[in-house]
């Protein structure tokens, strides 16, 4: 039996299981899509999951850690260790395209890419928007208002 292949298949399976762990603040996007989930390693009977925080003071990390442990436990993994990694340093380029789409459909303007300048309203698509506050409902978001449909909305700030 080739244990190495077994291990890599197991890692793939664990990544698939962890796809159901969502960000507690944005429950439509998984921690993998957000770039928080960085690695899964198997060490003997122990599953080691490496995560990185979005913002250094992010209080959601505790909830995410518990969610990972509970989800894996429900799938038969009793021995799970979640490690908070210092590297890589998280940035918004780590958010996957599917994650950005889900974010927008949820009503949060996704972070701009390097070549983009204008934040458009996730509701009506208008580019006529104003920043109300640099800090929104969580540290990773800013608060904007659409001058066209007059709806306030969150913008996921660019961190690169």
């Amino acid at each position: 039996m080739n244990t190495e292949i077994d291990t890599s298949q197991l890692v793939v399976k664990i990544f698939e299981i962890l796809e159901s762990v969502k960000d507690p603040e944005i429950p439509v996007i998984s921690i993998r899509e957000l770039g928080i989930l960085q690695q899964v390693k198997i060490a003997g009977a122990t599953v080691k999951v490496g995560i990185i925080p979005t913002y250094s003071g992010c209080p959601a990390m505790f909830v995410i850690t518990e969610d990972i442990i509970n989800t894996l436990y429900n799938n038969g993994f009793n021995d799970v260790k979640v490690e908070l990694l210092n590297e890589p340093v998280w940035n918004t380029e780590m958010i996957s395209d599917s994650g950005k789409k889900a974010m927008k459909a949820y009503g949060i303007a996704p972070p701009l890419s390097f070549n983009e300048k204008i934040i458009s309203c996730p509701q009506c698509g208008s580019t006529d928007t104003t920043c109300i506050s640099q800090f929104g409902s969580t540290a990773c978001k800013a608060l904007y208002r659409c001058e066209n449909c007059l709806e306030p909305f969150d913008y996921f700030k660019c961190h690169a």
């Binding site: 913002y55 250094s56 003071g57 590297e87 340093v89 998280w90 640099q134 800090f135 969580t138 700030k157």
Partner: protein, 250 residues
């Protein structure tokens, strides 16, 4: 154990923790809802920075301690922050200007520390730097907005400036141990930081038409653990739970 690096990490962590704690005092007292949220968001970032630096300090010390032990179980004379960061929150102008002074300092500090030869410190500085850029954008915008607004706002900004100005040189104070760490490429060269800071701040002073006070008491002592009376009251409130119920968790 590297005592000099450990003490330096405490200075970083204690500065962030005291700034974060003072901002947290605004929770529910901000001038309006969005600003209340912004103040406490910045507070959260700063407490996060403190946690990172305490964690590295714990690793450097090799002792069986946690970041929480360092935050909640040391007394005032063991804190290494400059006096500026422990000052009471004051009014909104005072908080805003103090935040601006510290944000500019942190920007240049973390830029320099992201090149530290102590890898964990460099990583933490890179992380903090991304967040500090947002803090500075906000505090600078508020300084300009308040200074160029109504007579009362101008007067309060000038009052805050008079009160805070002579606390700022202490940000750049160094001792023999810090100079050695800088020589080894582990920490920033503080004289370089000071010249960057002065340049950037003097641009804002002229833009905001603030008048530089001519004389005042030059704050010092934080590096040696000699603090103002304000720190003791802050710690009494912040550390109460761990002192009354040691090891309490929830």
């Amino acid at each position: 154990m590297e005592p000099a690096l450990y003490q330096y990490l405490l200075r970083l962590a204690d500065s962030s923790l005291t700034m974060g704690q003072r901002l947290a005092e605004w929770c529910g007292h901000g001038p309006y809802l969005e600003e209340d949220v912004a103040l406490t968001n910045v507070s959260l970032d700063l407490i996060g920075h403190a946690q990172m630096f305490y964690q590295i300090a714990v690793e450097v010390s090799g002792e069986h301690k946690t970041p929480d032990d360092l935050a909640f179980l040391r007394d005032a004379h063991e804190f290494r922050n400059p006096l500026l960061t422990e000052l009471p929150k004051g009014d909104f102008a005072y908080t805003t200007l103090k935040q601006y002074f510290v944000d500019v300092f942190n920007l240049h500090l973390y830029q320099a520390l992201s090149k530290s030869k102590h890898q964990p410190l460099a990583q933490a500085a890179k992380k903090a730097l991304m967040e500090v850029k947002y803090h500075l954008t906000r505090s600078q915008a508020w300084c300009e907005r308040l200074s160029l607004s109504t007579d009362e706002a101008k007067q309060r900004m000038q009052q805050a400036f008079d009160d805070l100005w002579f606390y700022t040189p202490e940000l750049f104070e160094t001792d023999e141990a810090m100079l050695q760490l800088a020589d080894q490429g582990l920490i920033a060269d503080y004289s370089v930081l000071q010249s960057y800071w002065q340049q950037q701040v003097s641009d804002l002073i002229s833009k905001c038409q603030l008048v530089v006070p001519q004389s005042g008491w030059l704050a010092t002592g934080g590096l040696q653990g000699e603090h103002s009376e304000h720190l003791g009251y802050m710690l009494a409130e912040m550390q109460f739970l761990q002192r009354a119920y040691p090891g309490c968790e929830w």
